[in-house]
Amino acid sequence: MNDGDGHGSPPLRLDGITKQYDGGGGTVTALDDVDFTVERGEVTAIMGPSGSGKSTMLNMLGLLDDPTTGSVELLGERVAALSARERTDVRRKRVGFVFQDFHLIPTLSAVENVRLPTRFLDADYTDRAVDLLGRVGLADRLRHTPDELSGGQKQRVAIARSLINEPDVLLADEPTGNLDRDTGEAVLGEIQTIADAGVGVVAVTHDSLVGEYADRTVELVDGVLDG
């Protein structure tokens, strides 16, 4: 989708990332010297038990959190130097997020939820939002609000929203977490299609089903990446 961008550099790379928190019982190491590269057109599943640091890693990839040591590179450039505003712009332009519990805005219709990331831009993304909802099979649910949609439909709205900005990277947190097996497979099929179009997809999960659809699976245990 964005093949020409970044001079062939991987869209996102984590280089020796360590993240430590000051917890009640001393320092907790959530990520320990993690190296990881997101490749275009590839679905990577990050598996691991709860508390293994999966969400922290996804936050690093999404430029939502800063590492204690190590660097995050976007298209070959370190993001540590970016201001808060520039990071927000990067997220708006390059990154798509699919959250575990969908996180749709309850007062907005499906179309409005999908174009939410572009809401404050001058250009009108309504047509693209409608198109994306059609692609995830929700052409007849455009004006429905989240409470009128099933879990699988909400997740597909969330996926359509993550694609509104034609991202280089799609980050999904437990994309099948709240879905039954059939719906989960349908959603993973969508994600596979997105990767086929050249987007680097990273999904953190403890659902083995996601692993079946992934091109690459890595294990995260106690903050250490294995695979």
Binding site: R92, R119, F120
Partner: protein, 390 residues
Amino acid sequence: MADERASDQSVESSLATRLARRFPAGSLAVRNLSRQRLRAGLAMLGIVIGVFAVITLGMLGTALQTAALAELGGLGNQVIISPDDGEENLGPREVQAIRQAAAGGGTVIPLNSGGASVSGPNGQSFAQLYGTTQPAALFGVDNVPDTLRQGVAVGDELAAGLGARVGSAVEIEGNRYRVLAIIDSEGTFSPIRPGSAVVLPPDEFVADDYAQVVVQADSADDARAIADGVRERLNTRQERVSVLSLTSVLSRITEFFALLNGFLLAVAGISLVVAGVSIFNVMLMTVSERRGEIGVLRAVGVHRDEVLRTLLVESTLLGVVGGALGAILGTAVVVGVALGTRLPLSAVLVPTNGLVVLGAFGFGMLIALGGGLYPAYRAAWEPPVESLRG
């Protein structure tokens, strides 16, 4: 197929969609407010009550002040010069001195006066007689002609007793006069009480001297200066005239009203500040409930200032709608009071009251904006990782 739907949809709600696209923060804010109608309504009610209180108290205060000054205004601008005890009348020398003192600051009206029995179509009564060439300047009412020639103006109370109207005849000491005008004494407040008086041409009086001289000054300051000037010119060597000017009393009354109005507005203003605290509280609840949503907005690339703007529009909208409702209600109640009591509507509809309405509305809006400031800032500046966790 999807395209068809899209065009259907945009035709269907084109105005709403266009507005939402034009004002993204505004449209989000309206949706958010509609989510918790009762809570938003109650927060708004505070502003309605606050603005209502400021407007009713402020407007009524102004109206009372305007009405009172309209009644007392003549008093404040009048200087009445009469002979001091022991002196007979005011002669041409005194009138000349008064004219000099009043030059440029007011109109000098020498008055003959006396008393006589007056009979009209329906009756007879003893009345105060005034003689002047400038009845309009003194009695300040439109329907009194500037000069009286072979006719008189009759005070309204006296006219009612005599059954006299404009055009009818009255008889004073054997002479018949046509009634040229009826003096409306309503709203005038002056030591010269025209209601039960007859105003004649001065030629009808035997004496050439004047019983008193009234100076109708252009302003209260002029009245004060003229009174001082007259005292200086006529009373330096001995007390020849007594000078009556109630300007200082009037300015005391004005000061009192200003103090009263200020106090009432301050009390009403406090209720608006309380309303601001309730908006602050509501916005704090709102942003803590929507923490996750705000985190999503920030994560998908909505800037801090855009989130801030949306939340501020939300709280300001409470002030705008509440302020408008309060302004309409307050104005309606004050107009209702004016229509239902003796308070004249013209005293309500003065420019100052326009400022009261605008000021109260603007203050309400600012209070609402201020109430939303900290909650909006806190929500927009929280790191998205934190908000998403909540």
